[in-house]
């Protein structure tokens, strides 16, 4: 038992490490891509060279980011088969299809047209060249859709039947229109736009702090704020609606995210609590709550009933047999709060920035500029917490209600191999992360922007 659980734990640690890392880069691509495309579009329409300079400045950051996203994405595709062969055989019929379609219909588009955009400045007509960056954006957004269709099937399986111990697809439409997937997709795309706009805003504020090219970066800051204010606000609503989908598909995840041990009606929302995270200690020693809010968030009604962990545990046991069907309550409770609080904070920062911009005080408000610069970390923290909530909240299942994580790993892969590969990925990813951070910082720095006269030679020369 101990060896088996070590193998599963190591495989889980590895998947968590590689996917969290991968998802630091993916949403920035999803959000920075359209912002760069908008900058180039404005340049194309107005002929104002400021927008060309901004396109190239933020385009460089986008490319540094994409490189590592692509490199670490490959690991994700291989890892299902390498570490989770039982899972792969069980789900391949259903889960494999959106992954294959992602490669064929989305990733191919993104990769090919990215090459055209990078090298096509002098070879394509301006209009065609502009089209290539928009096609890259379409490719990356489509790609996110198919990946989330696959992931959502693990959270809320639809359109399948079980034949000879494996899941078989019965309706591709049910798979593609999975309610869970559509909400997760909207949530992720908004997250991407938040990444893009908060990072652009932070970089602009860095330049304001140094008094560098203030006129130029005011344009970009305005664009970032125009995107950031509505998307951060919308995300609060969408995140909430997504919570409803989770409630119906994964009641245990919601109960754990609120440390709600017993069924309640109506239920208060806990903002903060000390203790109350284990079976021996169900009542927190200190908590701050808002009456009825959890009922609203989980069910859409202020009087709604939310089932408790104890009741759900009993239901699961009668359905699936003895075992622990609760995820780690403390981790789930706090990951939910870190994500939500970071989301609210980003909305406040965006709203404040927009107000300062409107009052023409943005370039003077140094305290805000520092805040916005530090706030670059927030979307990364929120996204990481969000995935911890999504994936750890599903435990002990790897596919909700169908297959347990503890039974899904590769029998042929030993503890030693897993140890080697986990050590390998951590080492490699730390090195890549350090280089990436240094490069990003260097190319985002206020002294880094190409002087005006160097501009008309955008061809990439190796």
């Amino acid at each position: 038992v101990t060896v088996a659980s070590t193998v599963v734990d190591l495989a889980r640690a590895q998947f968590a490490t590689t996917s969290i890392y991968h998802f630091l880069f993916v949403p920035l691509t999803l959000g920075l891509g359209p912002l760069v495309a908008i900058m180039q579009t404005i340049w194309h329409r107005t002929g104002n060279d400021a927008w060309l300079r901004l396109t190239r400045f933020f385009g460089t950051l986008l490319l540094i980011n994409v490189a590592i996203g692509v490199a670490t994405g490959l690991v994700q595709e291989f890892e299902f088969g390498m570490n989770w062969s039982v899972y792969s055989r069980f789900v391949g019929n259903v889960f494999g299809a959106p992954l294959a379609v992602e490669g064929l219909a989305a990733f191919a588009l993104e990769s090919t047209f990215l090459g055209l955009w990078i090298f096509g400045w002098n070879r394509l007509s301006p209009r065609l060249h502009l089209a290539t960056i928009w096609i890259v954006v379409v490719g990356s957004w489509l790609s996110a859709y198919f990946i989330l269709v696959a992931n959502s099937w693990m959270q809320h399986p639809v359109g399948y039947k079980i034949v000879d111990g494996e899941a078989q697809l019965t309706s591709v439409w049910a798979l593609l229109s999975n309610n869970f997937a559509l909400r997760a997709y909207l949530h992720t795309i908004l997250a991407g736009l938040i990444f893009g706009s908060i990072v652009v805003l932070g970089v602009c504020c860095w330049h304001f702090l140094r008094g560098h090219e203030v006129d130029l970066f005011r344009n970009a800051a305005k664009l970032a704020l125009i995107v950031a204010v509505p998307v951060t606000a919308l995300q609060l609503v969408v995140g909430n609606r997504f919570g409803e989908a989770v409630t119906s598909a994964q009641s245990m995840k919601i109960a754990a995210s609120e440390a709600q041990w017993n069924t309640c009606e109506p239920c208060p929302f806990s903002l903060f609590q000390i203790g109350g995270f284990s079976k021996d200690d169900e009542t927190p020693s200190l908590s701050i709550t808002i009456p009825r809010l959890l009922s609203y968030m989980a069910t859409g009604s202020f009087d709604g009933q939310v089932q408790g962990l104890n009741q759900l545990q009993a239901q699961e046991q009668s359905k699936f047999g003895p075992g622990n069907y609760m995820p780690n309550v403390m981790v789930i409770y706090w990951s939910m709060r870190v994500m939500a609080f970071a989301g609210v904070l980003m909305f406040l920062i965006a709203a404040l920035g927009a107000w300062l911009y409107w009052k023409k005080k943005l370039e003077q408000a140094r305290w805000f500029q520092w805040t916005a610069l530090v706030a670059i970390a927030l979307p990364f923290i929120a996204a990481t917490a969000g995935w911890i909530l999504t994936e750890m909240g599903r435990q002990p299942w790897i596919v909700q209600g169908l297959l347990k994580t503890s039974e899904a790993n590769s029998p042929s892969v030993s503890t030693i191999w897993l140890g080697i590969s986990l050590g390998f990925f951590i080492t490699l990813y730390v090195v890549l992360g350090v280089v990436d951070f240094v490069l990003m910082r260097r190319y985002a720095r206020p002294d880094r922007l190409a002087p005006q006269e160097e501009l008309p030679a955008p061809a990439v020369t190796y």
């Binding site: 540094i64 690991v75 039982v86 379609v101 064929l104 219909a105 590769s410």
Partner: protein, 348 residues
């Protein structure tokens, strides 16, 4: 046509596409330390594949995803069984991917040297392991009765499979050098032509030896008749022999066509020799995975067939267009940076 067979063929086509396209990228990468005489020429070599390598690597992603969807049992056994080998492939591919973007981010000679070698080592290592890996599907690895790999990392290395890896390295280097003769100019092009001459003979010998051995392995270890595996094997040997002749006759275009064909036929020989199995078991032949036992159900295959019928031609079309856009030789007058045409207001 039976959808299971169609998908077996499609997986072979995807690997062929990957080898054909990324093959010359890998070849260019392997030649980086040897052909250029200065940083400018190294930059030109990078530029020959710069716009296309990412699109080329997509074929691997598609091949992996398609195997997962169409043959889940094959995907599970192969990826978990070839664990450490694939870990190495990931290392080689990752350092190579970032080398393209990161190398140019600093002028420092030390930095540039590091990322050039990252590209070279990545290209060499990935080629070697893909060659060893695909040869192993046919040669056979220990597979137990529940369909899981039961061997060790070292079981992957036999005389035959190592020759498979070495052949792919030589063939890709040859393929990359014929590609360079078409994509560069001046001295660099001359040196690339010199490299094709030196590589052509060894690559031809290796391909001839390996493909002949493959037919023997198909008969001995996979219960096949000499026909049909001998057909792609003979055509592959013919292609590489013609490539050799074209190189000696200085017909670069035709030489490239032949190295491309030889690459495709290398893959075709392996897959023709494999059918109806997808992974041969060396311990108990009955444990081998077959097209039928490893595949997804009809519905999934039908959906995937529709998707492939729509998107595969589309991908070929726009990737083909990309090669057309970047058809000009690197280092010639045509690609000197020209000012961006100023946009006319309102033209969008």
């Amino acid at each position: 046509m039976d959808l299971q067979i169609l998908w077996f063929v499609l997986i072979a086509v995807l690997w062929s596409g990957y080898f054909l396209l990324e093959g010359f990228d890998f070849g260019v990468g392997m030649l980086l330390p040897f052909l250029p005489k200065d940083e400018r020429e190294r930059g030109q070599m990078f530029e020959t594949i710069g716009p296309v390598w990412d699109g080329n690597e997509v074929w691997l992603v598609i091949a992996g995803g398609a195997t997962f969807a169409a043959f889940p049992a094959w995907y599970g056994t192969m990826f978990s069984g070839f664990y450490l080998a694939l870990l190495l492939v990931l290392f080689f591919l990752i350092v190579r991917v970032v080398s393209f973007e990161w190398r140019e981010k600093s002028e420092s000679p030390g930095w540039r040297t590091v990322w050039m070698w990252a590209n070279t080592v990545g290209s060499f290592g990935a080629s070697l392991i893909w060659g060893v890996g695909l040869s192993n599907l046919l040669y056979g690895v220990p597979i137990n009765s529940s369909g899981d790999f039961s061997g060790t990392f070292w079981d992957l290395f036999t005389g035959y499979t190592v020759l498979g890896g070495v052949t792919i390295v030589l063939l890709f280097a040859f393929h990359g050098s014929t590609f360079l003769t078409l994509r560069t100019t001046g001295d660099l092009c001359e040196r690339a032509a010199g490299a094709t001459r030196r590589l052509s003979v060894v690559a031809a010998l290796a391909v001839a030896g390996f493909l002949s051995w493959t037919v023997a392995v198909a008969v001995d270890r996979n219960d096949k008749d000499v026909f049909p595996p001998i057909v792609p094997a003979a055509l592959g040997i013919a292609a590489v022999a013609l490539a050799l002749l074209f190189v000696l006759g200085r017909r670069s275009g035709w030489a490239f066509v032949m190295t491309a064909l030889a690459t495709v036929l290398w893959v075709a020989t392996i897959f023709t020799s494999l059918y109806p199995r997808v992974m041969v078991s060396s311990t108990d032949f009955a444990n081998s995975l077959t097209v039928e036992s490893a595949s997804s159900a009809h519905y999934t295959l039908a959906v995937m067939s529709v998707v492939a019928a729509i998107f595969l031609p589309l991908v070929l079309l726009y990737q083909g267009w990309t090669y057309h856009v970047f058809r000009a030789r690197v280092g010639g007058d045509e690609v000197l940076p020209q000012p961006v045409a100023p946009p006319t207001a309102g033209s969008g």
